[in-house]
Amino acid sequence: MSLLLDILSGLALLAGSLLCITGGIGLWRLPGVFCRMHAASLNDTLGTPLILLGLMLQMEPSLTTLKLVCIALFIMMTNPSATHALSRAALHGGERPLADRAAGAEDESSKR
């Protein structure tokens, strides 16, 4: 049983850290604000609960476990909505998605 838990938690931690590091790489390498947002938010939203899950599986059930559950839920709720607000703000602020940029160059003037 404890071996199973160890393996599970190891897997969760591994997957979580992989997601985190890919998120970091994506944030650094991808072109354009919206691509970067995509990389950052998706990886964070899954990676954080996975790492926390890995931690939870390793510890005795206690108040700390409950708090970790709260953190995971919290981040799963706040992270997407923060990114949503961010992308909205970026769109309002005049940033254009890369796909639009080529086509949008001429109708930019007609919109404003």
């Binding site: 938690s9 944030l27 964070d44 954080t48 890995g54 931690l55 923060a82 961010l86 602020g93």
Partner: protein, 90 residues
Amino acid sequence: MLFATLIALLGAMLLILARAFAGPSVYDRVLALNMFGTKTVLLIAVGGHALGWTGYADIALLYAMLNFIGTIAVLRFFEATASDAREERT
């Protein structure tokens, strides 16, 4: 495994910081700030668990909350400043 996770987190933090320094637009920086906060939460949780700190979960929870508030505040005030500037121009 925990230490591998820690190293992965620190590596991700470095990349995020690089983006925060370089970030061409403000939104990149806000994004980096938000992500950096999440990574700090994880760093405290994992590090606290690995090194046996007491009471780390409270602090991680607090971070998760304040990070959200911070991001929303940054956006709200940034929008406010930007639209003030736009009004000035017209």
